[in-house]
């Protein structure tokens, strides 16, 4: 049992869920706690959520995230960091040395984390979930330059950096100038249990498709980098060869565009654009889908692939970014080229061969254990362990005679 404690700084934590960081920090913290690493999460407040709670060994503090008007998001983040640092400092100080690592998630907590690192002289570990350059496909203005500069500062101040894929390692080394030796790869995780509970699959399936129709599922933001338009363009070609329904789950600026394009292509009767669905319904859809199409053009990791694998939905994908590290062509997914014709061919290949679909399903189901949260937490404790070993061997730490020599 490690015995030390960690302060985790994250701008989102359930029930405040904006993107992927919240579920990541939530699951990682709980599993770390099970492995004997007590975690103190300091995060933003959320209506109805307690300011302080203890949940399965994870201590959560939700700070006043500054609710007054601010000029823009980045300025709000700066103000939020003032309160986050203040509370985290109280927690670390009152731990009397038991908290030995500060773990930051993305640039959103950089100001707080870096100040804490120096004031307590504790090692800082940072997970870079994505970069500004990657998220926007480039750096075009001063707003982005500032965020990218914050990211560089955070990585330069961190003892170790965690990335979720080799694709992200490349992005962080190239976009932020980080040395490769400083980075560890720890994938995102998934809890497969909620995908295996009792479910009336026939009833759910019947909501979207007739018994003779196959179901093709897309789950993700409806934005360019997810390749969702390629899938819409592939619909007519699939329908010419197999009766099917296509379900697009998610929101994004391309939503209206997709609905209109379905009309133009004459496939509206075979396409659902549902918006967001609740978690239970979404997990059910993964389980009844005959294909989960993941046409992403940019994907730092690709957690949707883990969800499909956990639920047993055969994957058809371009294999961009981190996806190619999760699934293998012909083994756990059908890979295609980034164009509608190839995507349609891949989907039809899986729909027309039940034995191939079963093979993809079975192999994916075996592979999913690599992404269990207990495995992710174990890899993370190795990083903490290495960091603390190096830290303990070095001289940068709070001196036992802090406050210098008296009588100057």
């Amino acid at each position: 049992m490690p015995g030390y404690e960690v302060t985790m700084l994250s701008w989102e934590y359930p029930p405040r869920t904006v993107g992927g960081i919240a579920p990541h920090v939530y699951n990682l913290s709980r599993e770390l706690s099970r492995l004997g690493v007590k975690v103190h999460v300091v995060t933003c407040d959320f209506p109805g959520a307690p300011a302080h709670e203890s949940d399965r060994g994870v201590l959560v503090d939700r700070v006043d995230s500054y609710s007054y008007p601010t000029p823009n998001f980045a300025t709000w983040i700066s103000m939020m960091n003032v309160n986050m640092q203040k509370r985290a400092a109280e927690i670390i100080r009152s731990s009397n040395g038991r908290i030995r690592v500060i773990h930051a998630h993305d640039w959103l907590v950089a100001n707080a984390a870096i100040g804490l690192k120096h004031m307590f002289r504790l090692p800082l570990v940072s997970t870079i979930h994505s970069t500004e350059k990657g998220r926007r496909g480039g750096i075009y203005d001063d707003y982005q330059r500032m965020i990218s500069s914050e990211e560089s500062w955070l990585t330069s101040e961190s003892w170790r950096i965690v990335c979720c894929s080799n694709f992200m390692v490349k992005e962080v080394t190239e976009a932020l100038g980080v040395r490769r030796e400083k980075i560890d790869v720890v994938p995102n995780g998934i809890d497969p249990a909620p995908f295996r509970g009792p479910l009336d699959t026939a009833a759910l399936r019947a909501t979207f498709a007739r018994p003779d129709e196959r179901l093709v599922l897309y789950v993700g933001r409806l934005v360019h980098e997810k390749g969702v338009s390629l899938l819409m363009e592939a619909v007519p070609s699939v329908l010419r060869r197999a009766p099917a329904k296509f379900v697009f789950v998610g929101e994004g600026y391309l939503k209206e565009n997709l609905i209109n394009r379905a009309k133009e292509l004459g496939v509206s009767d075979s396409v659902y654009v549902t918006g967001f669905l609740d978690s239970e319904q979404l997990r059910g859809l993964f389980r009844v889908a005959d294909v989960n199409a993941i046409p992403s053009l940019y994907e730092p990791f690709g957690i949707v692939a883990l969800e499909a694998m956990a639920a047993g939905a055969p994957i058809v994908t371009i294999g961009s970014g981190g996806l190619s590290e999760i699934v293998q062509n012909g083994e756990t997914a059908q890979f295609v080229q980034p164009n509608p014709a190839s995507l349609a061919d891949g989907i039809v290949a899986v729909l027309s061969s039940p034995s191939y679909a079963d093979s993809l399903r079975t192999k994916a189901s075996k592979r999913i254990s690599v992404y269990s949260w207990s495995n992710i937490a174990s890899l993370t404790t190795s990083i903490y362990g290495r960091t603390l070993k190096e830290y303990d061997a070095g001289s940068w730490k709070p001196s036992s005679t802090a406050q210098g020599a008296r009588g100057s």
Partner: protein, 212 residues
Amino acid sequence: MTSHLRTAILAWEYPPRVMGELAYYVERLAHEVSGREGTVHVISFHEARPATEAVSPKIQLHWTHNPVDPHLNVLTWSLSLCSEAQRVAADIFYSPSGGIDVIDVHDWHFVSAAVGLKKALGLPFVFTVHSLEEQRSREPSSPLSSCVRGLEWLGLFESAVAITASATLKSQVEALHNVPPSKVRVVDPSSPSWVDDTLRAYREARDLQRGA
């Protein structure tokens, strides 16, 4: 208790970086305090000066550089600079020949740094208010000014003692930020007792923190 105070002064301007009168005020203060007490560390900002300069045997200047560039506004600028000021102050705190007994933070720019140092290292701070955003700003109701007022309030709330240069400003501080009058001292820089009064506030802040 007669031991010499070791002081850290946080101010966003100090000669040769002169934005207004604050730079000269802090320069004079550093010389006066170091003449009577222990080492004075001034933590300020300059893009081009070396990290540390010795002004005299008892005055050390620490020039911070902003680790983030560019910035959107003075708030994002000052709040990332605060983390750098915390690094510098912590290095003084942990230095075998260093140590800090009290921090004097001037106006809002470095308030967040002082609050963090108080919470993390137990260092007391005095908040010297030279003017208020309400009076300085051309758009006092703008979101940016609202944030600055929020930091002023934080400095007044978290400081052990606050200083103003006049009774008028003291009244304005109390009225605007709902501060108890007992917390704010009027220390007139033109008065012969200016240094004595300032040092009295420093010792009071130190003693309050010790008793906390």
